[in-house]
């Protein structure tokens, strides 16, 4: 379920997801995230514990070091964010993305 926050000029939506990828948020998973958010004009952020990453940045994402089974919050800002969050949630729900 989305949490919707209205701000002065744009709307932020966020949702909690479970990271089921068996190897966690490893390099190939990060590159897949970057690909999923590529071309989106708004901003997607992924929060893990007290860390937060710009989902379009490999270096940011890799610094999350999110372990398998982690609870993440994905946040989208801008028009068209919801389908991106859907894609990310679907991706994170998989277990067998790679043996990386």
């Amino acid at each position: 379920m989305n949490t919707i926050t209205s701000m002065s000029e744009s709307t932020s939506i966020s949702r909690s997801v479970k990271l089921n990828l068996t190897q966690g948020l490893h390099i190939r998973a990060c590159s897949r995230v970057v690909a999923l958010v590529g071309g989106f004009d708004g901003q997607i952020r992924i929060h893990y514990g007290n860390r937060s990453a710009d989902a379009s940045s490999m270096f940011d994402l890799m610094q999350l070091a999110a372990l398998p089974g982690s609870d993440l919050t994905i946040e989208g800002l801008g028009d068209g964010a919801e389908p991106i969050l859907d894609d990310l949630e679907n991706f994170f729900s998989k277990t067998s993305e790679s043996a990386d």
Binding site: Q23, I27, R28, F59, M62, Q63, A65
Partner: protein, 156 residues
């Protein structure tokens, strides 16, 4: 986690000459073998595993950096080496740019947390423009080790 916890100084290649991704990976793994971290019997299997991983998608992550890696049962704990390729190397990186800094990482298969923390440590430091720049300019093992130590000391 500190870089000096898992980078093997004796295996650092500060002036790598390589004309291909495979050549670079082979030299890095051979350097780890020569430093005593990899057994001769495991060398080819580790090279093959890293190359196979690269086929799934390049570990050239941008900013002139690549992190080829694998998990291997012979690794009791995570270890890594570094190569500086001053001429640049086509690594089919995500950003399409040549690679100048390579961190090759070998981890035990049963500890994904160590692997992720190693990657986190590497990328956290390489996101620092000065660290990245000075590492690219380093031409001796001593210079690379000094930079790793300075980076570790600066993180606390």
């Amino acid at each position: 986690m500190r870089l000096t916890e898992f980078v093997v100084p004796e295996a650092i290649l500060p002036q790598l000459q390589a004309d291909s991704k495979e050549s670079a990976i082979r030299q890095l793994v051979a350097s780890l073998k020569n430093a005593g971290k990899i057994q001769s019997d495991d060398e080819e299997a580790i090279v093959s595993a890293i190359l196979k991983r690269e086929e799934l998608g390049s570990t050239g992550i941008g900013r002139g950096v690549a992190v080829p890696h694998t998990k291997h049962p012979s690794a009791q704990s995570m270890f890594a080496t570094i190569a500086i390729c001053h001429d640049g190397l086509d690594f089919e990186s995500l950003d399409g740019e040549d690679v100048f800094i390579l961190f090759l990482l070998v981890s035990p298969p049963d500890r994904p947390g160590d692997h992720l923390r190693g990657l986190e440590t590497i990328t956290r430091h390489l996101k620092n423009d000065d660290f990245c720049k000075f590492l690219r300019q380093a031409t001796t093992v001593e210079a690379v080790v000094d930079l790793l130590q300075e980076a570790d000391e600066g993180q606390s």
